[in-house]
C-alpha cells in the first residue's frame, strides 16, 4: 500500500474511473489538484467560467454516455457550477463536480472564498459530500461516480477542503462500492410486465411515449423493436428525441406544449399510453385532468418517485427501461402475440389524417424564417450532426425541424431550461466526439449567457458550430407577451447586442452573417465546412412564433396553431 497526497489519490481514482477529460477553472484552494492533474494524461479543458465547465461536463456525458467531470475552486467557483448541477439533475445526467473548499479548520468561519456548497447544492444534486479526512477520499470519490452513473443517473458534488487534498493517506484502489442504503431497482417485476402485456393485447389505439430514460439506459433498439411489433405510433418528450428514429413512419413527433398536432391529438384519443423513461412533466401533460383521458397508462421508470407523481398510472413498472422493454418484447414473443398492420389501420389512418391536415408549417418569404434555417441545417448535415440547443424558441424549432434518428445526438437543457447551456455543452460534446459535427442552435439572448466560452473553443481547436437564430428579442417570452399580454414587450427587446460575427472574429473564430433568405445556405455551407469554431448569425423574422402552442394550463389537445 502506498502513501499518497489527497491530490494524488484524486488522480488515482479518476484514472480508475476511466476519466480522460476534466472541464475546470483553477483557484486558490485547488492549486494542489491542478498541479497533480498536470502530471497525468487526463486532458484538462480550461473554461472561462465555471458554469461553462459544468455544462460542458454535461454535454460530454450525454454525447459519450459516460460520466462528465468538472473541477472548480471554493466559493464563487463552486456557486458558479450550481446552474450546471441543477440542469444535470433535472435531466438525470451523470456528472461529478469537484469543488475546492477552505481548510477544514476554517470551515464555518466565513473564510475567504468560503461557501457552504454542500448545503447550497443539496436539493440540486443526486447526492453530495464534504470530505473531511484524506483517508476518506478514495471511498467517497468511488461512491460519487457510482451514484452518478447508476440507477437514475444524476450529478454528484464532492467538496474538497485544501488540507484534505494536501494531507497524506495510505491508498490502494478500491473495488466498486457497495452501499447498503442505495440499491436501485433494475429488474422489472415480471408480474407487472404480464399485466402490461394484457393491456397491450386489448388496446386498439396505443401510443408509446418515450423519454430521456430510454436514451440513458441505451434502450433505443429495444424500443424500436417494441414499437414495430405493436405497430404503435411513438412520440417523445424533448429529452426523448432520438430515442426512436425521427424519420420512421411510426414517429409522431414531439409531444406537449410545442408538440406536433398529431402527437397531442393522439394522446387525447389513445386508449393505451405506454410511457417509458418519462416523468410526465407539466410541459408534456398540459392540464393533468385532461391528459390522455381515455387511456390506461403503463409507466416504466427506474425512479419510483416518477411513477404516479403527476399522472395516476394503471400499471407501474419500476426498473431499467432497457430490461423492461426487453422483457415486454420477449413476453410478446413467448405469448405469440401477433399484431398486424391491418389491426392498426384505423388508428394509423387517423394519425395520418392529423398529420396531413395539420403538419408543422411556416412560410418562407422575404425575411429569413428560423424554421427554414433549421430545415437547411438538417438537409446539409444529413441529420448526422450532434445538436445542442440553448433555451427558448431556438430549442423548440430545433426539436421540431431537425429529425433525430439516433440517441445521444440531441443535447438540451430540458428540465431546468437553462439559457447558456448549449454552447458549453457543445464544447463538451465535441471533446467527447472529436470526429462528429457538433452544432449549437442558439438564440441571440441565450448565446450571450456563456459567450465567453468562445475562447475555450478557439484555444482547444474545437470546431463547434453555432447557429444563432437572431431575432433581437428574448423570443419565447416575447411570444407569450404577444399571445397573452397584449403585445406589451416588457424587458424582452434585445436590440443592443454585439455583432456576433465580428465578436467571433475577435476571439479568433470564424464569424458569418446572413440577413436574406438566399444567403442562408451559403453561410451554413461555409460555416459548417470550416475547420475551426464558427458563429453563424442569421437575422430572422423578429416576431415569428413557435406553433403549435398549448397555452399554460390548457389541455394538450387545445393548441394554438398560428
Amino acid at each position: 500500500m502506498k502513501t499518497l497526497t489527497g491530490a494524488q489519490i484524486i488522480m488515482s481514482v479518476l484514472k480508475q474511473e476511466g476519466v480522460d477529460t476534466i472541464f475546470g477553472f483553477p483557484g486558490g484552494v485547488v492549486i494542489d489538484i491542478f498541479d497533480e492533474l498536470s502530471r497525468t494524461d487526463i486532458k484538462h479543458i480550461l473554461v472561462r467560467h465555471e458554469q461553462g465547465a459544468a455544462h460542458a461536463a454535461d454535454g460530454y456525458a450525454r454525447a459519450k454516455g459516460s460520466v462528465g467531470v468538472c473541477l472548480g475552486t471554493s466559493g464563487p467557483g463552486a456557486t458558479n457550477t450550481v446552474s450546471g448541477l441543477a440542469s444535470a439533475y433535472m435531466d438525470s445526467i451523470p456528472v461529478v463536480v469537484l469543488t475546492g473548499q477552505v481548510p477544514t479548520a476554517l470551515i464555518g468561519n466565513d473564510a475567504f472564498q468560503e461557501v457552504d456548497i454542500v448545503g447550497i447544492t443539496r436539493p440540486c444534486t443526486k447526492h453530495n459530500y464534504l470530505v473531511k479526512r484524506t483517508e476518506d477520499l478514495a471511498r467517497v470519490l468511488r461512491e460519487a461516480f457510482h451514484i452518478a452513473r447508476s440507477g437514475r443517473p444524476g450529478p454528484v458534488l464532492v467538496d474538497l477542503p485544501k488540507d484534505v487534498t494536501q494531507g497524506k493517506a495510505r491508498y490502494e484502489p478500491l473495488p466498486e462500492p457497495r452501499m447498503p442504503s442505495y440499491n436501485p431497482t433494475y429488474k422489472p417485476n415480471v408480474k407487472q410486465l404480464r399485466r402490461a402485456i394484457e393491456l397491450i393485447k386489448g388496446a386498439e389505439k396505443p401510443v408509446i411515449f418515450s423519454g430521456g430514460g430510454v436514451i440513458l439506459s441505451g434502450a433505443s433498439k429495444e424500443l424500436t423493436k417494441f414499437a414495430k411489433k405493436l405497430h404503435a405510433p411513438v412520440t417523445a418528450s424533448l429529452m426523448g428525441l432520438g430515442s426512436f428514429p425521427g424519420t420512421d413512419p411510426l414517429w409522431l413527433g414531439m409531444l406537449g406544449m410545442h408538440g406536433t398536432y398529431r402527437a397531442n391529438m393522439a394522446i387525447g384519443a389513445c386508449d393505451l399510453l405506454i410511457g417509458i423513461g418519462v416523468r410526465f412533466d407539466d410541459r408534456v401533460t398540459g392540464k393533468v385532468e385532461t391528459f390522455a383521458p381515455n387511456a390506461k397508462i403503463i409507466h416504466i421508470d427506474i425512479d419510483p418517485t416518477s411513477i404516479s407523481k403527476n399522472i395516476p398510472v394503471t400499471v407501474p413498472i419500476v426498473g431499467d427501461c432497457k430490461s423492461a422493454v426487453k422483457g415486454l418484447n420477449s413476453l410478446l414473443n413467448e405469448e405469440k402475440v401477433k399484431i398486424t398492420k391491418k389491426n392498426r389501420k384505423a388508428w394509423l389512418d387517423r394519425i395520418e389524417e392529423w398529420k396531413s391536415t395539420t403538419p408543422l408549417r411556416y412560410k418562407q418569404k422575404d425575411v429569413i424564417k428560423p424554421q427554414y434555417v433549421i430545415e437547411k441545417l438538417y438537409e446539409l448535415t444529413k441529420g448526422q450532426a450532434i445538436i445542442t440547443t440553448e433555451v427558448g424558441q431556438n430549442q423548440m424549432w430545433a426539436a421540431q425541424y431537425y429529425h433525430f434518428d439516433r440517441p445521444n445526438c440531441f443535447i438540451t437543457s430540458g428540465g431546468l431550461g437553462c439559457m447558456g447551456f448549449g454552447f458549453p455543452a457543445a464544447i463538451g460534446a465535441q471533446v467527447a466526439c472529436p470526429d462528429k459535427l457538433v452544432v449549437d442552435v442558439a438564440g441571440d439572448g441565450s448565446i450571450q449567457m456563456n459567450i465567453q466560452e468562445l475562447a475555450t473553443a478557439v484555444q482547444y481547436k474545437l470546431p463547434v458550430k453555432v447557429v444563432i437564430l437572431n431575432n433581437r428579442y428574448l423570443g419565447m417570452v416575447r411570444q407569450w407577451q404577444q399571445l397573452f399580454y397584449e403585445k406589451r414587450y416588457a424587458a424582452t427587446d434585445m436590440k443592443y447586442a454585439p455583432d456576433f460575427a465580428r465578436l467571433a472574429e475577435s476571439y479568433g473564430a470564424l464569424g458569418l452573417k446572413a440577413t436574406k433568405p438566399r444567403e442562408v445556405e451559403a453561410v451554413l455551407k461555409k460555416g459548417l465546412s470550416s475547420p475551426g469554431p464558427a458563429f453563424m448569425d442569421f437575422w430572422v423574422a423578429r416576431e415569428e412564433c413557435v406553433y403549435p402552442m398549448v397555452p399554460a394550463g390548457a389541455a394538450i389537445t387545445e393548441m394554438l396553431l398560428a
Binding site: 448545503g119 443526486k126 447526492h127 418517485t305 404516479s308 407523481k309
Partner: protein, 167 residues
C-alpha cells in the same frame, strides 16, 4: 388528510437531517413533528416524523425519502399496529390554592413532578398525543407557563414469537 408516522433509519452523518427536512420544505410537504436520536448501532440514527397528507402525497413523501442515499430503511406505521409515545415537560403556575389540584392531575395521568418551586411545578408527562392533549386541557385553566414537547416516537408492534432486529 391522514396522519402518517414515518420511521426512518438513516446514516448517522452530518447533513442527513438537513436532507430530510430540506426534502419536505422543497417539495411543499409538512412535518408536524420530528424526533432524532442514535440507535444501538452508532452509525445509524432513527428519525421518527409525523406528517399529514392524502394517499398520493404520503406515497410521494415515502418514495422521495427512500430515494435519499442516506436513508437505510423506511417504515410507515400508519395501517400497522404500533406503540407511540411523546414526552412533554410542562411548567405550571402552582400557587397555594392550586397545588393540590395539580398533583391530583399528575397522579391521575401518571405523570411525575420533576421540579418544584414555591410558585411552579414542572411536570413530566408521557403518552400518546391524545393523552398529552387531555393533560394540557386540564392544566391550561390553571396556568401553563412554558412547555417543551419531544414529538412522537413510535415502533411497530412485534408479531408474537418473532424475533426482530435490534436497533
Amino acid at each position: 388528510m391522514k396522519k402518517h408516522i414515518i420511521s426512518l433509519l438513516v446514516d448517522n452523518e452530518p447533513g442527513v437531517l438537513a436532507r430530510v427536512s430540506g426534502l419536505f420544505s422543497g417539495r411543499g410537504f409538512n412535518i408536524e413533528s420530528l424526533c432524532v436520536a442514535e440507535t444501538l448501532d452508532f452509525s445509524v440514527s432513527r428519525i421518527t416524523l409525523v406528517t399529514r397528507g392524502d394517499d398520493a402525497v404520503a406515497e410521494q413523501i415515502k418514495k422521495q425519502l427512500n430515494k435519499l442515499i442516506n436513508v437505510v430503511k423506511l417504515s410507515d406505521l400508519t395501517g400497522v399496529e404500533y406503540v407511540e409515545r411523546e414526552m412533554a415537560l410542562i411548567k405550571v403556575n402552582a400557587k397555594t390554592d392550586h397545588r393540590a389540584e395539580i398533583l391530583r392531575i399528575v397522579d391521575i395521568f401518571r405523570c411525575n413532578v420533576v421540579d418544584v418551586t414555591p410558585t411552579h411545578y414542572t411536570i413530566e408527562a408521557t403518552g400518546t398525543a391524545e393523552k398529552l392533549a387531555a393533560i394540557l386541557s386540564l392544566l391550561k385553566p390553571i396556568g401553563i407557563k412554558e412547555i417543551a414537547r419531544t414529538g412522537a416516537i413510535a415502533l411497530a408492534r412485534e408479531k408474537k414469537g418473532k424475533a426482530g432486529e435490534v436497533f
